[in-house]
Symmetry: C2
């Protein structure tokens, strides 16, 4: 089989780790959001790719949801003294990834190639593919105008009101040519933020059609459980967009694409409404606080597909 | 008075610190070799400027002769794991300087402006001027062809035989316009390597003529004491170039430019030969193992000028 898992950062990466634990590298490919990539201090920062890489390498910081565990901050402290931009935290070891990627990109290698090189150096054998090698930049539209994603997300701590989203470059970006659309058994949309983690992937020119053309089941796992987001601004964004903060609303968001929708046990009562959207539903334990939860959810989804 | 001190890295920086201790910022300007600058990991590294900056800020590593004291190496360790280039050691705190400079240069600021901004953030009030804002790149010519300076100096640990030197870009580089040639009381060539620290400065288009045109005394301090270099490859280079490793040979190297030549007490017997070159000579304690030595040598040179 070949499973294609679409994922953003922390929430999606948890399930991705589950798949990586239960499937050999040849059976699963991770396609990652690069809409929140940005240039910072002359570096190319790719937050979701890095979170997934660190997660699969099991060096991720388990608390923060970004960066490496056992990190030190000498660089950041020194940069602060220079009056440099310190709102985006770069740990001493994390910096090595960013400077090494800079070197690889400057040598003319693609983001995919750099990602693969870096992941394999960290002992990751599974394939991590940026959604595109071309720049797509998510902007959060606020009442004061659009904000570059990391400015919204990190610098401004998701405080501005989101009234919409833009994915600059998505219309002209090419799909990552390494995505094996022709041989997919199933597609899983991990429980990442639908608006700023999954939608940028789906916005890449041709992605939605290419996914649908596979004829494979498309399984989405709800990032909303019991009316709340596990982590991050999903629920806040839904409120601001005037969407109910429910798993049904997430299902509606994916209508026309998704064939199977996985909801958490606490949302059992939402099944009928989701089924009415023409999706098969499954009720599983989707909150993943331990590694066991991650592998168990991955296994349950694989059973669902088979 | 306005003193202009030409300097490279560690040896010159010691005397520069002496001057900074005994002269107020308005009385001395440091002009620094940038011939060993290079691009590395997407950063602009300016080793001599950085050594002087750290020395004047009193955060320099006193043993290594480069980098910061109390440095940590998490970045370097992580970069090694990525298979990145680790032959040029960049400490975690040192990296902040390089990334901040990258940001300033990318914003269109000159190397002079970036140097000034960085130095003042570290509490340095004296003026540090790169010899030029244009790239000049020292290459050590070896029997196998020219080597970029840092490859010769750091990566290859000065092991290749030097048969000559090239200062690529020097002929078209402009003098740093901030150098106050019109108001100089005296010029001091610090005890840096004549071939790869001082000659690149003198090679910048117009520098030699501009120095001579000031009519000010030009005082050189010998980096060779008792037939040896205090630090670095000066003596090795002299042997390879077929030049005697003596203070007289250094004086001869500077003939036609220098008016006063400072030798160490142990080289007293060289005075006559140096005087025969038309230079005034002075015998001083030039080996600077303590801060007292540095300020004392600076004071003695100032007396010599007055």
């Amino acid at each position: 089989m070949t499973l294609l898992a679409l994922t953003g950062g922390v929430g999606g990466a948890k399930l991705a780790l589950g798949f990586a634990k239960v499937l050999p590298p040849e059976d699963v490919v991770f396609v990652v959001n690069t809409g929140d990539d940005f240039e910072h201090l002359g570096l190319h920062i790719s937050p979701d790719v890095d979170t997934l890489t660190y997660t699969l390498a099991e060096v991720a910081n388990p608390v923060a949801g970004w960066g490496r565990k056992d990190e030190t901050w000498r660089f950041m402290d020194a940069l602060e003294r220079f009056g440099g931009e310190t709102w985006f935290r770069l740990g001493d070891a994390d910096l090595a990834l960013h400077l090494h990627r800079r070197t690889l990109l400057d040598a003319g290698r693609s983001l995919t190639d750099a990602t693969n090189e870096i992941a394999s150096r960290l002992g990751v054998n599974h394939t991590i593919l940026p959604m595109s090698d071309h720049p797509v930049r998510t902007r959060v539209v606020t009442p004061d105008g659009p904000l570059a994603f990391q400015h919204y997300f990190v610098r401004d701590r998701c405080e501005p009101k989101a009234v919409g989203f833009e994915f600059a470059g998505a219309e002209t970006a090419s799909l990552n040519p390494a995505i094996p659309f022709e041989s997919l058994t199933a597609i899983v949309i991990c429980p990442s933020n639908p608006f700023v983690s999954v939608d940028p992937i789906l916005a890449v020119n041709g992605m939605r059609d290419a996914l649908l053309a596979t004829g494979a089941p498309i399984v989405a796992v709800s990032p909303i459980v019991g009316g709340r987001a596990i982590k991050g601004p999903t629920a806040k964004m839904m409120r601001e967009l005037g969407i109910p903060t429910t798993t049904e609303a997430v299902a509606k968001h994916y209508a026309g694409l998704v064939t199977h929708f996985v909801i958490d046990k606490v949302d059992e009562c939402a099944r009928a409404e989701v089924a009415a959207l023409g999706m098969e539903t499954a009720t599983l334990q989707t909150v993943m606080t331990t590694l066991d939860h991650r592998t168990q959810l991955a296994r349950s989804i694989l059973e669902l597909i088979r």
